[in-house]
Symmetry: C2
Subunit: 334 residues, 2 copies
Amino acid sequence: MAMNSDRAIQARGNTLGEIAAAMQAAGSVLLFPHSSMDGDTLGSSVALCLALRKAGKEAFVVIDEEIPDMINFVDYGCCTRSLEMIAEPELCVCVDCGELHRLNDRGALFKSGKSRMCIDHHVSTMPAFEWNYIDPAASATAEIVYDIVTLLGTGFDRQISEAIYAGIVTDTGKFQYSNTTQKTHIITASLYEYGLVPSELSIKIYQSVSREKMMLEASIISTMELVAGGKVAVASMTQKMLKDSGAKPDDTDGVVERLRNVRGVEVAVLVRERRDGRIKVSLRSKQSVDVAAFSAARGGGGHVRAAGYTADSSLEEVKAGLIADLEALIAAGY
Amino acid sequence: MAMNSDRAIQARGNTLGEIAAAMQAAGSVLLFPHSSMDGDTLGSSVALCLALRKAGKEAFVVIDEEIPDMINFVDYGCCTRSLEMIAEPELCVCVDCGELHRLNDRGALFKSGKSRMCIDHHVSTMPAFEWNYIDPAASATAEIVYDIVTLLGTGFDRQISEAIYAGIVTDTGKFQYSNTTQKTHIITASLYEYGLVPSELSIKIYQSVSREKMMLEASIISTMELVAGGKVAVASMTQKMLKDSGAKPDDTDGVVERLRNVRGVEVAVLVRERRDGRIKVSLRSKQSVDVAAFSAARGGGGHVRAAGYTADSSLEEVKAGLIADLEALIAAGY
């Protein structure tokens, strides 16, 4: 099977060989997942940490927050909240991001490394350190990590393959997003060689939703309205709904994507009342509407298919305004 | 990468080579998906039909019901509801099932074939026709069809690859169920060679939920109770809820699986009031409880992780009874 032949052209920064050689040359390595950890930043960091330890390095994944429930099995003794595990790290690696502000209070430790590296797949990330490898064609940073581990020559094992899989399955939305490629499936197939049992991980990742989140989702979805001839779905969450459900604010994750699943809907919107009274608007589009531009015009930002902004009037006013704006947008043929 | 080496041993009936040769020898072939069509029975039938036409055969997929919305793009001019497309079919193939009662009124036409064949992956299916190939190690019948199309030598194209993918992605629950294997991913990777764009199919299959179904799901989930120390989730649907939502009875598909996604839940139960007043109970288990045995003891049946039965008292009585029974089962350590 032919691999994605233009991948090397699209990747920015060093070659993968240079990246692996730089890791081989370091005696101690700290890995830094971005804040608001997801499966890819954590899985990629942990997989690299495990491989580097197998290669005889001193290595840790430095975090500064609780690991989210759905991926808290992806630790394998790698994660630490201490900033003092390695006094003078030879190499510090920013994983799945390239901006120091996403490391919060870990930024100074990152900078203290003898050299610094970025491994990422986000198209917006710029090479900013001594070593950089940014491949927007990779579905997940974990795909890049798979190639690096291969080059390190330490071999894969069950834990490394699980950490890589956790990154891939979450960043591709179970292989459904358009970032999924032939290589994604080839890598996943090869991970089976090392004892990976994806269905067991699936239970940990996707079948561990809290009761409170499930109830909050149901109450939000029950507020759904279809407007603009069914092309726009709008739902909302008040602070009272959040309180009544007992859920956490970030338990709304994934709800706006579910609204988008409605047939005929091109734009899904979730309007949330924040604790400070401000209104958070999250937008998702299915195939055509540029919600990043829509959000940017309102002081927000994001990706073409996933964006948002924050507003300062009442929930009802914000909702009415954006419905009018989206109806006009749809009527104009976007 | 090593393939699943014991697959040939586990498959029952003829060899794949004999199956392909029998198809090559037939001038006309009718394919029969089972009733209550799903992505695998339809995708497998259509992929075979397209390949057989490429091989110069007269071929049709004979159906007797509407194609469900989420897979109605998997037709490609193959499906017919006429029982008279081919007067004397040389070969009739039962796809993804092996029991004639699942063909409803198409049974007589199936039997009229000069010879008959079964292609299936269900462990319970027995070789019953002149030609049989039953491989329970295949995640989907579409995986077997991939191998048959390879042996037919007609080559794949975009439509064949889409039909096979539709079978695989739906029967594996987006590659999450335990039936998913290394081979599943290897096949999927190879389908990219023929123009498959899975994310486009994903929108058709998974992002076309009716508004009515979405609202019914939310109202059912809002009835969820956790009992047996959180190990059992029970939700219910009355006829009034169904009517108020405007949804169809089969729009409850998938809801009981969502209940199972709650953390700590081992058994999820959906209790539905049917139009005739009878009560339909659907059970799903996560890792240990044998819900097939539980259901069989109540006159129903199914698989170890997915089963159900029908009862004849009121919804509240049925619910109270099964909660008591499941609490006892959980207390007894299953």
